[in-house]
């Protein structure tokens, strides 16, 4: 083991990958989940058709640092505000939300204003997603 393994940054990053809404196109969500896992993260995949309440509850129970939401159907404008509001209500503002899928350019600013940390549009290399997550962890105390 390298010395780095003992620093805080070496505790595995826990990520919840979720697919809210009615859409069943889960190719992207599954590829991302595998890639994050292969990059050493602990990944919990919720499966399909999760309501915002289910997503936030899973994030709470699994004690994740990141929620990755995959939305391809255009429903992000309805789903993201609900997820962000629930996180606020449950005082989970240490959890960072990243969004991937078919998100039009003109919606990106609105998503960021709602508190989404990053939006990954079609064609984003897996490596940039992995790097973003690694570089944007919030410092957590070791219990």
């Amino acid at each position: 083991m390298s010395a780095a393994s003992f620093s805080t940054s070496a505790t595995p990053i826990r990520v919840l990958v979720a697919k809210p809404g009615l859409d069943g196109h889960d190719r992207g969500a599954k590829v991302i989940a595998r890639a994050l896992r292969d990059a050493g993260m602990e990944v919990i995949y919720t499966g399909l058709r999760q309501t915002p309440e289910q997503v936030v509850n899973a994030a709470l129970q699994e004690d994740v640092e990141f929620i990755g939401l995959s939305i391809l159907s255009g429903a992000h404008t309805a789903i993201i505000p609900r997820v962000m509001k629930l996180l606020e209500e449950k005082e989970m503002d240490d959890v960072r939300v990243v969004l991937g899928g078919i998100i039009p350019d003109e919606d990106i600013d609105a998503m960021k204003r709602l508190g989404v940390a990053a939006v990954f549009q079609p064609g984003t290399p897996l490596e940039s997603i992995i790097t973003f997550i690694r570089e944007n962890r919030r410092d957590r105390e070791i219990s």
Binding site: L22, R27, I102, Q121
Partner: protein
């Protein structure tokens, strides 16, 4: 380190040699493996004169927002030379929820047109004579209900059901495998499919009650061989279930239709279509004992690969689509959809949709590829690819049969896991530079030039909900309740559900109301979500 692109494999990973000669075809028997166009085993196509006798149907998949908007797009496409309609429904419709259901929030009219009742269906086909067009409807879990709505609209237009021509997708097995828009568990869903096959055989002799679909399987990440295995494997399963119901094979098999992806590997795709026809002909004649030649013929619709479209340099997608469309035509497709260049971003604009249609028209009018049937027949390379796909298919089919057939394989998550594995492998090959995609990891441009995209009117959900409220207050609600009660009782028994569904549709029961009844009887399905 510079990674050398892996040029010596097909898109699906099959090794390709430098050159193919006669020596590579020692196991090839032209009379048994090839035959003539229009003759068994139909490797060279299902018609002797192929496109000279009947050109493929140019069928652009389209649907968005409220029925009125989609109706306008249909009439636009028909005016510009499109020859068949193809309806895209929104997610609530696919999942059997009305537009005013809380679960439909944010989804109404987004990925297709919103249809909650017969009233919406009447609006969708306003001024389009259903006896004269052919209509394909991409609907599966709720297919029986949407088909019933279509039939009632035709009935009201005075069109004879026996003259109606078109297709409903209705391929539930691929939902569990790939598209994941399932509602009920696999076995009651299979019963609904067999109900539609039975109903179709007796009432709508020119309508395809199923389109057994590899498209979604391929788009979810399968290889060309996996697309063949899981699609034709599903076909075998439907035939087995229908025969068990007591349907005579030649009564329903001529109306089984297929739907494949046409991806970027030009020769592999042509070989896939040829192998599919040959495999199906052999299965139907030799295994199931079909006597009618029409039962042996695999007819298919093809759609260019949505998954191959890139967000980067989106105009290049026009080139990809044109080459894929050429492969579909050389592979003998009966019907074709060409994707629009803007579909990595959104549903297509009218301009992009027209350009996609024009791509097919250029192929048909200007290139000469429609003149001779199966022009690549006898090519050492293509015949080798075709034989290898066929062999691979029968090996894999045996494996699935050993598991207990496709329904059991699906319940155990086997195709799902295989497809996920292939899709991850594919993504890694791009990330590692072993496979090159223009604009993604080759010839990358830093500048991102935006293209115009279609945005959906955000008031669609509100408008559709208001229509539903009005419908519920104006219709004969006692008749609706009676029809829904009948449907529930029929679902508990084993009579064909198409008849009680038609009655409920005529009474203006909504899609959500009918699906709720069936959800109550059949239960709902959720998959084990392994990564």
């Amino acid at each position: 380190m510079q990674v050398r692109p892996d040029r010596s494999r097909t898109l699906s990973g099959t090794p390709v040699e430098k050159v193919y000669t006669r020596d590579r075809l020692s196991d090839f028997d032209p009379s048994a493996d090839l035959g003539d166009p229009g003759g068994f085993p139909f490797t060279r196509g299902i018609h002797a004169d192929m496109y000279r006798g009947k050109q493929w149907t140019m069928r652009q998949f389209s649907g968005f927002a409220a029925p009125e908007e989609t109706n306008r797009r249909y009439r636009y496409l028909l005016e510009h030379g499109q020859t068949g309609l193809s309806v895209a429904f929104d997610l609530p419709t696919l999942m059997g929820y009305d537009a005013d259901d809380p679960l439909a929030a944010g989804e109404v009219g987004k990925c297709g047109v919103a249809i909650s009742s017969l009233a919406d269906m009447e609006e969708l086909f306003r001024d389009i004579p259903l006896a004269e067009v052919t209509t394909s409807m991409t609907i599966t879990s709720s297919a029986a209900i949407l088909w019933a709505m279509y039939l009632v609209v035709a009935e009201k237009q005075g069109a004879d059901w026996a003259r109606l021509s078109g297709t409903i997708q209705n391929d539930i097995l691929k939902e569990y495998m790939a598209q994941k828009e399932y509602i009920y568990p696999p076995r009651p869903s299979m019963r609904l499919v067999v109900d539609t096959l039975e109903f179709g055989a007796g009432n709508t002799p020119k309508f395809n009650p199923i389109s057994i679909s590899g498209y979604h399987i391929r788009e979810a990440g399968a290889t060309a061989l996996q697309e063949l295995v899981f699609t034709l494997g599903a076909g075998v399963e439907y035939v087995k279930w229908a025969v068990e119901r007591g349907l005579q094979i030649d009564r329903f098999a001529p109306r089984l239709s297929f739907f494949f992806d046409v991806h970027s590997d030009f020769f592999e795709e042509i070989a896939k279509f040829r192998a599919a026809r040959k495999i199906w002909a052999r299965l139907m004649r030799d295994r199931f004992g079909a006597k009618n030649e029409r039962s042996w013929k695999l007819r298919f619709h093809a759609q260019t690969a949505g998954v191959s479209l890139t967000a980067q340099q989106p105009r290049v997608n026009l080139v990809r689509t044109a080459i894929q469309a050429l492969a579909a035509v050389l592979g003998g497709a009966q019907s074709l959809h060409t994707n629009s260049l803007d579909e990595a971003y959104a549903l297509p604009t009218e301009e992009a949709a027209l350009l996609a249609l024009r791509t097919q028209q250029v192929l048909a009018c200007e290139t000469g590829v429609i003149e001779a049937a199966d022009p690549f027949g006898g090519s050492y390379f293509l015949e080798r690819l075709t034989l290898d796909l066929e062999k691979g298919f029968f090996e894999q089919l045996e494996k699935i049969e050993a598991m207990g057939g496709m329904v059991t394989a699906v319940e155990n998550g086997y195709p799902q896991a295989e497809i996920a594995r292939s899709s991850y492998e594919f993504q890694k090959s791009i990330e590692e530079g072993r496979r090159r995609i223009v604009g993604v990891n080759a010839y990358v441009e830093e500048e991102h030039e935006p293209i115009p995209t279609l945005s959906i009117d955000h008031t669609v959900a509100e408008k559709q909900s208001a229509k539903l409220a009005k419908l519920r207050s104006e219709r004969d609600n006692a008749a609706v309740t009676r029809a829904l009660d009948n449907l529930g009782r029929a679902a508990e028994g084993d009579t064909n559900l198409m008849f009680p569904i038609l009655d409920a549709v005529r009474a203006y029961a909504t899609l959500g109301e009918m699906c709720d009844v069936l959800r109550g009887v059949f239960g709902v399905y959720s998959e084990q979500s392994a990564v």
